[in-house]
Amino acid sequence: MNLFCVGLSHHSANVETRERFAGDAETECSLRKSGCAEALILTTCNRVEVYGASEKRVSTEEIARCLARKIDQYDPSHASAFYRYEEVQCVQHLFRVASGIDSMVVGETEVFGQTKKAYEGARACGAAGPKLHRLFQRAFRVAKQVRSRTQITRGAVSVGSVTVDLAQRIFGDLSVRKVLVLGAGENSERTARALVSRGVTDLRVSNRSGERAEELAQLVGGVAIPFDQWREQCRQIDILITSTSSDAPLLKPEDLAPVLDDRIDRPLFIIDIAVPRDVDPRVNEMEGVYLYDIDSLQSVADQSLALRRQQVAAAETIIAEHVEDFRNKFLDEGSGVLRQKAQEGSPINDASLRASEL
């Protein structure tokens, strides 16, 4: 029995090509008709892949044809964008995909859920049998180990999530923190929503236009504060998000100094996402103040991504161990072909799948 993976991803094809292909339960059925004993389709934003087990080789072109969204628009030249992994390479590829190593954003965990969902769907409709069951169960185990033993998922890699991550690194529990949003633009709203999603309940909004402030306050479940009172609010708040269209800095060290005297043991986290900046950079030199502008947030995101990339080698080691073990247990020596098991040919049911779980 041959184990294979045929697909295309952001590594091999541009979005224009990728969007021409997709797969569903019907595709799995047509794949089985074309000779696959077992077939599973994994579709994410950046990849469409078929994992299959077959007695005879099913050509890449045939699989590409099955995956085409509109068969009449299928162009055979697109088949060249597809990659194909057989046996051990297929096992290794799936382990890398499930662990997030092969993703566009290294270490993202969404692909794990998508893989699980794809497996459950295929299993429910009977397209995935004992071979793919063994393979995918092991892939989930590998992904969990990679996540827990390495730092591949550590750190936020987008500006929005960096803001929330930093706030949690400073304050821990955000539910008791007070946040002031200065400026009621789209960026302010997005950042405020991200903080609310992590438990912030005390949110104040201030804007030159009081009407817009009220509007945003209602949207994010906060209260509007008159614009001439926002500096006074700095005595109480823990987090300040500024994103106004002001040409000159609104907050300078001399404005903040009297406020800080009253809050020496409470840190103040300032997120300045305005361009030009609303807060004088010298504010970051003040005791207990942590100022991040859009560039420094991007820099933290880049550092997290670099940290994740450094973890790839550690993750690859874990994967290699599992690939070797899987090969020894389930693939025949030399040929690497999936070993025939006693239960092969028996009906696929939950009990038999559980028995073959790793």
Partner: protein, 264 residues
């Protein structure tokens, strides 16, 4: 026999340190569980050592610098196990294990396990004073460790340069809360130890008393500054390191001078 127990204990702490070094080289921070168990096992062997030595001496084993250092290591491990999990400061173990390992390795390697030529009479107040003061030093040591963690985290947040340790350190506000509690705990125990020193019934060297009161005043000033909100958390963290260095110097001075006085 008793030294074998100590060697076993030191090996446990060394295991925690080695694991940390290996993990750091692989740019991975170990999970706190291993550290906690390694320190826990090391603590059990330390306790067994102190118990054996205590039975042998028929008193609290604080008769020379060697025993004082082991008692200090034991106190640090004890406070860590009480405070660490309570405040979810699991990474503190990664900082605590090297500290205890260094203290014990020095105690084992240096020729400081000198037995008193004459058997000293047991003085309960003196034993209470010494043991309470050293357990207080254990709390101050952990406040110092938390202070180092705070300064590392604060520096990264200020400079926007995040290293992998950043994602493992507790939030700044949690660390500062832990520092404050450790300082209060240490200060309360140290006050108790210092006060009991006045009931010893023997004249203590004036310089020791002045230094001990000096350390007490230093910690009192830190706590007062914190309480009145005159000291920023970063300064409190830095003062914890200075305070513990002063306390350690005093401890060494007291043990050294006590050993000199006991020589025939």
């Amino acid at each position: 026999m008793d030294r074998h127990l100590l060697v076993l204990s030191t090996i446990c702490y060394l295991a925690a340190v080695l694991r940390l070094v290996v993990a750091l080289r692989a740019r991975i921070f170990p999970r706190g569980r291993f550290n906690f168990f390694a320190i826990g096992l090391g603590f059990i062997f330390q306790t067994a050592f102190l118990s054996v030595r205590g039975h042998e001496l028929h008193r609290c084993p604080l008769t020379n610098l060697f025993e004082v250092l082991i008692f200090l290591g034991w106190s640090v491990a004890l406070i860590y196990m009480l405070i660490g999990p309570a405040y979810r400061l699991s990474l503190m173990g990664a900082f605590t294990a090297p500290l205890v390992f260094l203290i014990q390795a020095f105690a084992l390697l240096a020729p400081i396990d000198v037995r008193h030529p004459v058997k000293l009479p047991v003085n309960s107040w003196l034993e209470f004073h010494a043991s309470m003061s050293i357990v207080a030093y254990g709390a101050f040591a952990l406040a110092c460790v938390a202070g180092v963690m705070y300064l590392v985290q604060e520096r990264q947040l200020k400079t926007h340069q995040m290293r992998s340790i950043f994602y493992h350190l507790p939030p700044l506000t949690d660390l500062f809360a832990a520092i404050t509690r450790l300082l209060w705990l240490g200060f309360a125990l140290y006050t108790l130890g210092l006060a009991s020193g006045f009931f010893v019934g023997e004249p203590l060297p004036r310089i020791q008393v002045i230094c001990a009161v000096g350390v007490w005043l230093l910690y009192a000033a830190i706590l007062q500054g914190r309480h009145l909100r005159r000291l920023a958390p970063r300064r409190v963290a830095a003062l914890c390191i200075i305070g513990f260095s002063a306390a350690l110097t005093l401890l060494w001075g007291i043990s050294f001078s006590a050993q000199l006085h006991s020589l025939p």
